[in-house]
Symmetry: C2
Subunit: 334 residues, 2 copies
DNA sequence: CTGAAAGCGCTTACAG
DNA sequence: CTGAAAGCGCTTACAG
């Protein structure tokens, strides 16, 4: 392994000079600098970033933290982040951490073990202690799609999205609506799901419609197949439903569309369906799915750029909240 | 920031003892050990992994390198890696590097800048010098879906997959086949695309069929919309085509299916289509797409597990090649 | 069983 | 403009 000392020796200077020269210090003669750079090139020298980070107290990495990265939601945000990484000319690298439920544990280690200079959380709600820990350690935290008082929050207006979706169903003349929600293992609704529920209920209320709570259905893993199962159940037990708001997203909604076809239920004639997320395949199925689009790519892109500014000191870190507006995409399913 | 010295002070021992105690050295009395751990807990001490890595010469990170991570291909492999991360109980973390074309540059820096202990490349073909560099620096390299003599190669049998696909088209009675290939900016076919092309041609040959090279079409970005464009072009200029092997994958094939519908071309009656990759939406479109499935999840999972064994010394690093077999999934499009 | 010392590869005041 | 020294937070022989 070639170190700074090897370069110094070859160039005939001290390793201090090498360090200075390489990072373009103004207090080095152009001649010595050239000599050093030549030696470095010749030896194919690359600074050991571990040593560098240790003395700087900075790792140069931005941690992206999620429960897991295997869903389209995370991927879409990741796309935005990635594109941002390459459009902003900086030396930060990104590091993915999946917590698989052990959020606080992983986050503590990231912060205290100096694994990252700042973190972006995807759909993870950190405890108050964790937020405090990061603040105390001067490690900026951006939380996307969840609540985190004391950190920077970037959220979608799920209430409004659900409201638009529901209103669209109502305006199409539907009278007996159903609601499909996703909930995790702990049997709680996450922030976005519960806001969508509220938006749904509010829209009904504002249009003077009542809601039978038995028309709420739950899924857990956001799988396509769960949509098929739910639709079957719906047909069996709640036969008069004529409109569905699938707050659990387009993947599940797609499963319902397919199951409807199997059961010869016509969409949108017999039952209207509106999904959420506007995933790529939504325009590919038959009928194409009406949905609510969220600017995930933009959110990822801006979130990352923001973090870079925070770490570079261009922007001051202070807790606040950004809300992105969703958009109704009308296609064939309602 | 609380360091090993703070713990030492509180526990009333030297920092050497703390280091030893924390990593469970046998040469520490249970009593002192307890004392140390208690102090560490009390101060919420987490070892600085930068310092640790610097002295160990190991970073504890496994680098995953790809051109970009925004496609389903990478995501599916990532899923497998992720699941492997959590099933194997080890302390490695994964770090994503997207090269955006600057492969050698990024790889050199990863290796020489000590950003990772080992790397897994996705669809990237490293130059011979890079492979040598990694070998010289004792940094294991696993290459998925590309060639890399001197490293560990994990590839899919694209020749066989294409052969199966083509044979399936032929067996369905198609006479005038078309081939859709993806090629990158540099106008070269990557390993997998060129093998698929070869498999396609071989199958035709084995069945005594000739191929008109004007029936080859190219796309570049693997977008859905490119499939629509290609299908239009096909209809316009090569009207007698009755079977398409879309080696460029299911996303593009799906675009063709949709465009066919728009143009009132019946699938599979008028034209049969077979894709590649078996992405999730392939079963959702109408008609559902016949495709070739690759065990991407398995490949990611095993690749990661393998890398861990290499880094832990459980397995010896020596260049070789693993080939995974694809599988024909018959649905409605042929 | 425990501690003082050296060292990992860098950077950053501080002299000269 | 350049170099000797100290230090970042750890680990690992080596004494005792």
């Amino acid at each position: 392994m070639v170190t700074i000392k090897d370069v110094a020796q070859l160039a005939g200077v001290s390793h201090t000079t090498v360090s200075l020269a390489i990072r373009g210090s103004k207090s080095i003669t152009p001649e010595t600098r050239e000599k050093v750079l030549k030696a470095a090139r010749q030896l194919n020298y690359h600074p050991n970033h571990l040593a560098r980070s240790l003395v700087n107290g900075k790792t140069g990495v931005i941690g992206i933290v999620a429960n897991f990265f295997s869903s389209t939601f995370e991927m879409e945000i990741l796309k935005g982040i990635e594109q941002s990484v390459h459009s902003t000319e900086t030396d930060f690298s990104i590091n993915l951490f999946s917590t698989l439920g052990k959020n606080d544990e992983v986050l503590t280690d990231i912060c205290l073990g100096r694994h990252a200079d700042g973190v972006i959380l995807l759909s993870i709600s950190p405890s108050a202690e964790i937020v405090k820990l990061f603040n105390d350690n001067n490690c900026p935290m951006i939380v996307i799609d969840e609540q985190a008082e004391g950190a920077i929050e970037i959220v979608m207006d799920n209430f409004h999205g659900a409201y638009m979706a529901t209103e669209h169903l109502i305006n199409s003349g539907r009278k007996n609506l159903a609601l499909v929600l996703g909930r995790d293992n702990q049997r709680e609704l996450g922030l976005s799901q519960s806001e969508r529920k509220n938006g749904f209920l509010q829209a009904l209320k504002d249009h003077g419609m009542s809601f039978d709570d038995r028309n709420t259905f739950y899924i857990e893993d956001y799988y396509f197949e769960e949509g098929q199962v739910v639709f079957k159940r719906m047909q069996r037990y709640r036969g008069n439903i004529d409109g569905i708001f699938c707050a659990a997203g387009d993947m599940v909604a797609s499963g319902m569309v397919l199951e409807a076809k199997t059961e010869h239920v016509r969409i949108p004639e017999d039952i209207a369906i509106i999904g959420y997320d506007d995933i790529i395949s939504s325009s590919m199925i038959d009928p194409p799915l009406t949905s609510i689009r969220q600017p995930l790519f933009q959110i990822g892109k801006n979130g990352y750029a923001r973090m870079v500014r925070l770490l570079e000191g261009t922007e001051e870190y202070k807790p606040n909240k950004f809300v992105y507006e969703p958009q109704l995409i009308v296609r064939g399913s309602v």
